[in-house]
């Protein structure tokens, strides 16, 4: 019974919600809103359990004289300040987040800056993660590096012109390297490398010709948009289609009780 009952409830709820998606008529359209309301009510009560867990976790750390108890003390003090301040604002203004409420001041001047600080850290984490990801270790990561460089350059003002010295450096170095490799071969293999190296060097040096450099600079934002709109969108949609199919199959496994990992 401990297993059958949850499976039965899941089955009935799942099938009902699925069927209601196709019925535009009242009162069926309100069922989803109703269940969402139930979820909010249950979550509200569950929040008490959450608060209990949070306070107990930190109280235990203080009690056992943990070396990090200082943070726990700050958390508990901040928790009660915010709670009592909220009740006081409620009593004084009718609601804590009402215009002119001191709690709104606390929210805007303490909470929001802290929140923004955490979010701002993301820029530095992106830089460190990008440094690791953009190392040209193999063909795939080299392609990633090149496309990422084009997208980045294409999305900033004058990005196309910033791109030019990098293009020159890349073409000259790669062309010279291929040319150098060509000296180690003979016959056909050597000629192919000489020609390829020469082409790269030629296009690299062509950057000094204003007509070519202007066209190249204006081409970068276009290429950046193309990468984002076509290869990137195609990849994302492919993942999304797989994801939605996976989601339907997973939901069916749960609704029909095939997968019961979520119950005891």
């Amino acid at each position: 019974m401990q297993v059958q009952l949850p499976v039965l409830v899941t089955f009935i709820s799942g099938i009902a919600i699925m069927a209601l998606f196709f019925i535009p008529r009242e009162p069926f359209t309100q069922v989803e809103q109703l269940t969402t309301r139930w979820y909010v009510i249950v979550s509200g009560f569950a929040l008490l359990l959450g608060i209990d867990s949070l306070l107990l976790y930190h109280w235990r750390k203080i009690k056992r004289n943990d070396k990090d108890k200082f943070y726990s003390i700050i958390l508990i003090i901040s928790f009660f300040i915010a709670l009592l301040w909220g009740f006081w604002a409620w009593y004084k203004h009718g609601a804590p987040f009402i215009s002119g409420s001191s709690y709104l001041w606390l929210f805007r001047n303490v909470y929001l800056p802290l929140d923004a600080t955490m979010f701002s850290l993301l820029a530095f984490f992106i830089a460190s993660a990008a440094y690791r990801a953009f190392r040209a270790r193999n063909l795939e990561s080299t392609l990633l590096l090149i496309s990422a460089a084009i997208v980045m350059m294409g999305r900033v003002p004058f990005g196309g012109y910033i791109f030019l010295p990098f293009f020159l450096l890349f073409m000259v170095l790669t062309g010279s390297y291929i040319f150098y490799i060509g000296t180690k071969y003979t016959g056909y293999n050597s000629i192919v490398r000489y020609i390829l190296g020469s082409i790269l060097l030629f296009f690299g040096i062509l950057v000094f010709y204003p007509g070519f450099s202007n066209v190249l600079a204006q081409f970068i934002p276009v290429l950046s948009d193309w990468i984002m709109n076509y290869p990137n969108s195609a990849g994302q949609r492919a993942i999304a289609i797989g994801l939605y199919l996976g989601s339907i199959a997973f939901s069916l496994r749960i609704i029909f009780g095939i997968e019961r990992g979520y119950i005891r």
């Binding site: 535009p24 009242e26 569950a46 359990l49 867990s53 235990r60 984490f125 997968e259």
Partner: protein, 375 residues
């Protein structure tokens, strides 16, 4: 010039209120300056000293669907041209919803025919799903390729044990109604079972109390199945906060102080994904991620050792359970993918041909056959 600029009134203009069934539609015109945002305020029963902020928007229309009968509602639009400079409209006249006003929605049909393609696809997919389910039960279990991220779980737990460090696991910041979270909890149970057999600590910070309760159950069950219920520590599966970056800060604090040997990110994530994954990378943890959030996948791929991409997360619990009937259902996804690819290819071909005035009618009929709703 300055006088001219300051002489422009920049409050929203011509605020109109339309009572539509049990909601009020507010429409206004934008002033002749660049507007940063509008704030919509409402006063209930003329309590204009205590207005309620309903929304911040850049649109010139807002629908208030939270009104109740027999209360007088008045509205005001605050127009911001930068973060601190704003101008208000006058309070609108009161609107009141009569007690017996009810939108007549019962003239609608019992089936939404615009959603017919969805139903057909669901039935086809359901047929494939049960076909492969029963075939697997009859012994025809399909081959499922190895998923590196799931194979690495045992190694990650083993490594953390050798290092004498705990393991940290999070399902992200969505709600329990999200299938990704349920999939994450199913993997948590498997990880808990492994952790219990090695006898190390498993820390599970949560941002939703309901997920915390479900996680506690899953971990407890995992420890019990491993035969070590005595090692289960309820205090290690804790609630942090419902706020996104507050959760990220709390999680990172635990990671920096506890230095886990392995970090698992299995569920749904937003912008906090990289903040958390980079922090655990920096303390030397082996990172295993899995998410259905497409926007966060690149961040996990660059900062984690293994990443379950999209549907792999949903397949994970079936893969780990090694239950043939569960594994069988995964095959139906592949067949459905083939059908979708064929539909896309035929559609692309017909659309291309119709550009050259060839098979245009068939192309339009084909497109309308897959049209759902207003799209």
């Amino acid at each position: 010039m300055f006088l001219f600029i300051f002489s422009i009134a920049f409050e929203a203009e011509s605020l109109k209120l339309i009572l539509d069934g049990n909601k009020v539609i507010l429409k206004w015109k934008s002033p002749p300056v660049e507007v940063k945002k509008y704030e919509v305020y409402r006063a209930d029963n003329n309590q204009k000293d205590h207005p309620i902020l309903l929304a911040q928007t850049k649109n010139t229309e807002f629908t208030d669907s939270t009104i109740k009968p027999n209360i007088k509602y008045s509205y005001l639009i605050r127009t911001y041209i930068d973060d601190t400079t704003y101008a208000d409209t006058k309070w609108s006249d009161n609107v009141i919803l009569a007690l017996n006003v009810k939108e007549n929605k019962n003239n609608k049909p019992y089936f939404d025919f615009q959603k017919l393609p969805v139903l057909i696809f669901l039935l086809v997919f359901g047929f494939l799903f049960f076909l492969f389910y029963y075939l697997a039960r009859l012994g025809k279990v399909p081959y499922i390729r190895k998923i590196a991220g799931l194979e690495a779980i045992d190694d990650a737990v083993g490594r953390a044990t050798e290092m004498g460090r705990p393991i940290i696991y999070t399902t992200g910041i969505s709600t329990l109604s999200d299938p990704a979270i349920i999939a994450g909890i199913a993997i948590l149970k498997y990880v808990a079972k492994k952790v219990a057999s090695y006898g190390i600590d498993l820390i599970v910070p949560n941002n939703d109390p309901l997920i915390m309760i479900a996680s506690r159950e899953a971990v407890k069950e995992g420890y019990t199945e491993a035969g070590r219920p005595d090692l289960y520590k309820e205090n290690n599966i804790m609630f942090l906060t419902t706020e996104q970056f507050g959760f990220a800060a709390g999680f990172n604090g635990i990671v920096i102080r506890g230095k886990p040997g392995a970090a698992f990110y299995q569920g749904y994530f937003y912008a906090e994904s990289l903040l958390m994954a980079e922090t655990s990378y920096n303390v030397g943890a082996i990172n295993i991620a899995g998410t259905t959030a497409i926007t966060q996948l690149p961040f996990f791929i660059v900062s984690c050792d293994y990443t379950l991409i999209g549907e792999e997360l949903y397949a994970a619990s079936a893969y780990l359970s090694k239950n043939p009937s569960e594994i069988g259902t995964i095959k139906s996804e592949d067949i459905a993918k083939v059908i979708i690819i064929i539909i896309i290819l035929v559609g692309a071909l017909l659309t291309t041909l119709s550009e050259y005035n060839f098979l245009s009618e068939i192309s339009n009929a084909y497109k309308s056959a897959f049209k759902v709703g207003r799209f």
